[in-house]
């Protein structure tokens, strides 16, 4: 079996992983990025909207353009960064500190890293409702991939479930692709995403029905509509069930961290609802309770890509510093300030509480 050695293994080539790789390689470490997809960039490649944040977080730049910028930065690290695409990490063996991975469906190999940054991202949540297994029911991520990676629209008329940023942004992108959005349903009494994203779709005529949910998908072989209903404060139905005609039902009801590798590695985990699932405890440098493992991005708690990129920088620096590379402590400070600023608004309130709950002052074994 082939065995690869590296200073820093970065699991996941999305915004967090690429940022971690760039900062670790920038500090002098050799880095191996392992990415399951056929290209780097993660969810950024599907993001056709302009990012928020400040200049440092590429504010005003479209997500797929940010992916290009990060890929160029990685390319400029010359031979210090190796990239393996179409490769999925399948396990971590604690005793030997060995990672196993599958290249395509052909080769199974061992990776022996000195340090690891896990930036495995998140997976979509789905909500159960009768008939949700017929063609036409999609996760929002799949809709974005179909449209923005492969240039295929999912249908002609979409019912969006969820008015968080993903539901709002994907609705807007559907309209850009010429698809009608029948309505956006949101079970809560207010939108979860940015108000301006909601205003963008509202002024194009899309209703956002607050306190509404889906009851069932209608259709024999494919989706032809959906039954929807209004909710009271206790999420019980009020009023009559209504029917919305649509050929696509798109679920944008949240994400949860892809954390299996961290469980395997024995990292201390905690269930933190504000971070949308089980997340590893971490110190300020994004190090887990396993002294060889750092994390960054959605796997550490669901948040915007802007924050994921800063966490990646921090984790990459942390791993490089632990390897003995010369890292000025002020560099961390600058990133901490940027993270703090990003999280200071009203939408960041839950993130702040969640991160506080997941952060430890320091790990005893390092003391």
């Amino acid at each position: 079996m082939r065995e690869l050695k590296t200073d820093v293994l970065v699991v996941g080539g999305g915004p967090a992983g690429l940022s971690a790789a760039a900062s670790a390689a920038g500090a002098g470490a050799n880095v191996l990025i392992v990415e399951g997809d056929l290209h780097l960039g993660g969810q950024l490649v599907k993001q056709s909207h302009k990012f928020f944040g400040s200049k440092e977080e590429y504010a005003g730049t479209r997500g797929f353009e940010i992916a290009k910028i990060l890929r160029e930065e990685i390319a400029n690290c010359e031979d210090r960064v190796e990239i393996m695409l179409n490769t999925t990490v399948s396990g971590y063996y604690r005793e030997e500190r060995v990672v196993t991975a599958m290249v395509g469906e052909e080769e199974y190999l061992r990776i022996v890293p000195k340090k690891i940054v896990i930036a495995s991202g998140a997976q979509e949540r789905l909500i159960p409702f009768p008939n949700n297994d017929i063609p036409g029911v999609y996760g929002a991520g799949a809709v974005q991939t179909l449209m923005n990676v492969y240039g295929v629209v999912p249908g002609k008329r979409v019912l969006m479930i969820g008015a968080g940023n993903i539901g709002l942004i994907v609705s807007y992108q559907l309209m850009q692709a010429g698809v009608e959005v029948a309505a956006i349903l949101e079970a809560m009494p207010r939108i979860g995403g940015y108000w301006v994203h909601a205003a963008k779709v509202r002024r194009l005529g899309v209703p956002i029905l607050l306190r509404h949910s889906i009851k069932r998908a209608i259709g024999e072989t494919v989706v032809t509509g959906a039954e929807i209903y209004e909710l009271d404060d206790k999420f019980n139905q009020v009023g009559e069930t209504e029917v919305v005609e649509c050929d696509t039902i798109c679920l944008a009801v949240g994400l949860t961290p892809t954390n299996e590798l961290l469980w395997q590695a024995g990292c201390r985990m905690k269930y933190i609802p504000f971070l949308c699932g089980h997340v590893p405890l971490r110190d300020k440098c994004m190090r887990t309770s396993n002294e060889d493992i750092w994390m960054a991005g959605d796997v550490s708690g669901i948040e915007e890509a802007s924050a994921a990129m800063i966490e990646g920088r921090i984790a990459g620096l942390g791993a490089a510093k632990a390897l003995g590379f010369n890292i000025q402590d002020e560099m961390f400070g600058e990133y901490w300030v940027r993270l703090k600023n990003l999280r200071a608004g009203e939408v960041g309130e839950k993130i702040r509480a969640g991160v506080l709950n997941a952060t430890v002052d320091g790990w005893e074994e390092n003391a």
């Binding site: 400040s54 008015a163 963008k200 005529g205 802007s306 600023n341």
Partner: protein, 166 residues
């Protein structure tokens, strides 16, 4: 729906911090127009400020602040219209003449409008407010966000926030 519920679904129902109209007297006489920003939620974002060439959108003490505008410095250049990731900046020039105003609106849809054509002008819930004539289609940042210059009756300025090409 109650007014607060309408606001919570993304529709501005009244002026609030981050979403105020320019001062009327200055607005009526200012050639080139003044910016209208509708960004009433504290989110971490400041490209309106960093893209403003005159400092009319004042510097943010905290990046989560809602935009504050010094209208004396605004030239109506609409760079913020092109740059704002939330498509929350608009410009209205009330000096266009003959009861008409020139609005500069962000546009990221297809088909593209063409100069001289008539388009539908939409309000904050997508309702058709009036028709407007396309006076210019600019792409200031060459990033596919167009700034469409459209002339509308002056009394529709407070309602028109988007166009639909028909």
């Amino acid at each position: 729906m109650k007014v607060s519920a309408i606001f919570e679904s993304g529709v501005l129902t009244e002026e609030r911090p981050g979403a105020v109209s320019p001062p009327e007297a200055l607005w009526k006489s200012h050639k080139g127009g003044l910016v209208i920003v509708e960004c009433p939620q504290r989110i971490p974002c400041n490209p309106c400020n960093t893209s403003c060439p005159t400092g009319a959108i004042t510097e943010f003490a905290d990046i989560n602040d809602v935009p504050a505008i010094n209208y004396d410095k605004c030239t109506g250049c609409a760079l913020c219209v092109a740059r704002c990731p939330g498509l929350a900046c608009f410009v209205a020039d009330l000096t266009f003449g003959e009861g008409m105003a020139l609005m500069k609106l962000p546009y990221e849809m297809l088909p593209l409008p063409t100069k001289g054509k008539t388009v539908k002008c939409l309000g904050r819930t997508g309702e058709v407010v009036c028709e407007g004539k396309v006076e210019n289609v600019a792409e200031p940042l060459r990033d596919r966000t167009r700034v469409v210059h459209v002339s509308v009756p002056i009394d529709k300025v407070s309602d028109v926030r988007a166009i639909k090409v028909v």
